[in-house]
């Protein structure tokens, strides 16, 4: 199945793309998707060594065990900074 992934702000500097479809096996969890993304974009490790990435699925903060569905929209966010 395909999941649409969006990389926000600083994260996009480490993936080189703002948005893409990622193919994962049916029944995959958020953890599986993140591992797949880390394989596709090894530079992301540099960011994760210093900062925590927040992951939203269809705008909602989900745990790593969350089971993804076809067409889900996932977003990877760096720490926020309003004001």
């Amino acid at each position: 199945m395909k999941v649409r992934v969006k990389y926000l702000a600083a994260i996009a500097d480490y993936t080189g793309v703002l948005e893409e479809d990622v193919e994962v096996e049916n029944g995959s969890t958020l953890k599986d998707l993140l591992n797949r993304i880390r394989e596709m974009h090894p530079d992301l490790k540099k960011f994760e060594e210093r900062f925590t990435i927040l992951v939203l699925v269809n705008g909602v903060n989900r745990g790593l065990d969350y089971k993804l569905g076809d067409g889900d929209r996932v977003a990877l966010l760096p720490p926020v900074s309003g004001g």
Binding site: D13, L77, S81
Partner: protein, 151 residues
């Protein structure tokens, strides 16, 4: 009515204050206004501009949630308006208005709302300075931008 959202342009402050001042009849005695600006000097370095990016509709949703959740006894209205896009030094970035029974409660509530706005909604800040481009995070920490690919 309390509300929070992302805005493209400066807001008409007089109009908002006029709307909020209607609560005077119910006992409101003060409107506290906070306005954030792009500052031209950070850590002794000149700043030329700030880029604010947001993740809509979730940023507006979170701002609105904060405005509604912070409504309390003695608080009559809360408005939060956050700008986005490329902003120059001296441009306004954020408006927080709190209509309260008195000044003490108004200032306390505005301060609390501001802290939440810094850390909760998906808003991202890129600072353009004379010594490079920096991603700025809510706790004040900075990450120098290494690559511009993908943006």
């Amino acid at each position: 009515m309390p509300e929070g959202r992302v805005v493209d342009e400066d807001i008409d402050l007089n109009k908002v204050v006029e709307e909020m001042s209607r609560h005077a009849e119910d006992g409101m005695g003060a409107i506290v206004v906070f306005i954030g600006f792009v500052k031209g000097d950070i850590e002794g370095r000149k700043v030329s501009k700030l880029d604010y990016s947001v993740y809509e509709p979730y940023t507006s949703k979170k701002l609105d949630e904060i405005a509604k959740e912070e409504m309390d006894e003695g608080v009559y209205d809360i408005r939060i308006y956050h700008k986005h896009g490329s902003l120059n030094v001296g441009d306004k970035t954020l408006y927080i208005l709190v209509a309260a029974k008195g000044r003490k409660l108004g200032f306390e509530k505005a301060s609390k709302v501001l802290e939440r706005v810094k850390f909760e909604p998906p808003i991202f800040k890129l600072e353009y300075r004379e010594d490079g481009e920096y991603w700025v995070f809510g706790d004040g920490s900075r990450l120098k931008r290494e690559s511009k690919s993908g943006r």
